[in-house]
């Protein structure tokens, strides 16, 4: 294997972890409400632009990410309160919720355009530690290492929260059987809100990291990312977080190989080709449950 190819793989894995982190948000919400949140991409863009906004006010970049993380989490919670919970209460069909999230997506995106303009903003990489390590002949920059560490760390944290904490147990209970969860004394609406917060928070961090990595951010940046990471989540199996990780890495690596060999024009197409293939041949993804109808 030549070193260019290895480089594609390293880049692909770095990218893949970010995709997986964004995909987590889809999976979390899907596993609880059995809906796909189409506002996720715009909310990710909100995370990037708000971080930039706070950095431009002279606030420390990491603190900016932290403030944005909380704000973005609240933006997702607001979405649940104003457009998803009312539909849930009326037992509306899933497609209404789907369209409501799509609507919220445009509200957020247009709000960003009003606030920041529709143009592209420069976003200085705030996590370049200024060194490069060499593994054999393979140079890996500090930005990539930081990106890997943060996205990997956050996914571990999410896994820990869901599998090892008291709140996580309640989240898993609601995923399995909402009625029984209520009988246990679990306040389901609060758990749903908490889940939306987690989804928003991870989207915000990924938005800021990606914007810093490519040194650019703009209000519509979430369109492609949103769809790509939905493909990631579907490939892994919606609702399965570890599946999302593998899905992210597969799509990330494929993307880097295609971009490197066929040219960057085709890079965004990769995930959609993968998406079509999974929808045809593996509708429940790599780790998804065969039967996803909710009882």
């Amino acid at each position: 294997m030549n070193s260019t190819f290895l480089l594609y793989i390293v880049d692909g894995v770095v990218l893949g972890l970010i995709y997986a982190l964004v995909a987590c948000g889809y999976s979390l919400i899907f596993s609880i409400l059995r809906i796909v949140n189409f506002a996720h991409g715009s909310i990710y863009a909100f995370g990037a632009l708000m971080t930039l906004f706070f950095i431009n006010q002279g606030i420390n970049p990491w603190l900016s990410v932290l403030i944005t993380l909380i704000l973005t989490g609240m933006l997702e919670m607001l979405m649940d309160k104003v457009c998803i919970e009312p539909l849930r209460k009326r037992n509306s069909p899933g497609v209404s919720t789907l369209i409501a999230t799509e609507g919220y997506s445009y509200v957020v995106m247009n709000m960003l355009i009003i606030l920041f303009g529709s143009g592209r903003n420069h976003f200085e990489t705030f996590y370049d530690l200024g060194f490069t390590i060499n593994i054999g002949s393979l140079p890996i920059s500090s930005t990539k290492l930081v990106l890997l560490a943060i996205s990997g760390g956050l996914m571990l944290l999410m896994t820990y929260i869901i599998n090892k904490t008291h709140v996580g147990l309640a989240i898993r209970a609601v995923q399995q059987n909402t009625t029984s969860a209520r009988l246990m004394g679990i306040k389901v609406n609060r758990i749903v809100l908490g889940t939306f917060f987690l989804a928003g928070a991870t989207a915000a961090v990924s938005g800021a990291l990606v914007a810093g990595y490519y040194q650019i951010c703009y209000p519509t940046m979430g369109m492609v990312m949103g769809n790509k990471t939905l493909a990631t989540a579907l490939l892994g199996g919606l609702g399965a977080m570890h599946g999302g990780l593998l899905g992210g890495i597969i799509i990330g690596v494929l993307e880097c190989i295609v971009a490197g060999t066929l040219g960057a024009t085709y890079r965004d197409a990769v995930s959609f080709v993968v998406l079509i293939v999974i929808l045809i041949f593996m509708p429940s993804g790599l780790f998804g449950k065969k039967d996803i109808t909710k009882v």
Binding site: H166, L169, A170, R172, A173, Q175, Q176, N177, T179, S180, A181, R182, L183, M184, G185, I186, K187, V188
Partner: protein, 236 residues
């Protein structure tokens, strides 16, 4: 003392009048059973008491607290536990996680440990399988889990909806013995059953529900000896 008092409760599903002016009481320490045919409104009554279903009219008091308008998640902490129709276990979670959820609102680790022990003593089978994903248990084991989970928080009133459904006869006997045992430990019980014979044998009192209305009530013994009941529900 009246532990539970249901007064003239009406529940509708859309335009269908599911239960009509249902009134029933459970005294502290009693086993009360609600019998009736399929679709008579037994599970609806349970759903109404536990707060899963909205009531159109009527009143429900538990320990003299008005719980009519309270949702299920606010009723559970008062000391009512329902083991629902169809068991309602969390199939993807382990046996132990299911039990832990039964006492979700309790934080005291020592307390939880004691409750695990209590449930495992009653159902040794669950102890053997505590790490197993509960969806892979047999029907009988799932029923044990549903009952075990419901008593994890030591409720004052345990409501059991068809605990014998789909079980082999020896398991039915076992479950009924457990119910009597739980009652002896101080828990009052409201039991919904299609197996009227077994239910009336262990019950202090019983109510008969027909198409949404209570048509008869009496002690377990009286109902068991009533010729009409024998004909309608005991297959004679």
């Amino acid at each position: 003392m009246k532990l539970l008092s249901v007064q003239d409760v009406n529940v509708f599903y859309g335009s269908i009048h599911a239960i009509k002016d249902v009134s029933l009481d459970v005294e502290k320490g009693e086993i009360v059973t609600l019998i009736g045919a399929n679709g008579a409104g037994k599970s609806t009554t349970m759903g109404a008491i536990s707060g899963l279903l909205p009531k159109k009219s009527g009143k429900i008091l538990f320990k003299d607290i008005d719980i009519t308008a309270k949702p299920a998640e606010d009723i559970t902490p008062l000391g009512i536990a329902l083991s629902p129709e169809g068991r309602g276990i969390f199939p993807g979670l382990t046996v132990e996680d299911n039990l832990r959820l039964g006492a979700y609102l309790k934080k005291d680790k020592e307390y939880i440990k004691r409750q695990y022990e209590r449930v495992y003593t009653m159902f040794p089978r669950l102890k053997e399988r505590y790490k197993q994903v509960s969806g892979t248990l047999s029907g009988g084991e799932q029923q044990m889990l549903a009952v075990g989970r419901a008593i994890m928080s030591e409720p004052e009133l345990l409501m059991l909806d068809e605990p014998s459904m789909g079980l082999a006869p020896n398991l039915v006997d076992f479950i009924f013995e457990i119910i009597v045992d739980i009652n002896k430990q101080g828990t009052s019980i409201l039991l919904v059953e299609q197996n009227a014979n077994m239910a009336l044998k262990i019950a202090d009192r019983g109510y008969v529900l027909t198409t949404g209305s209570i048509v008869m009530e009496g002690s377990g013994k009286e109902l068991l000896e009533n010729p009409e009941i024998r004909k309608a529900y005991l297959g004679e």
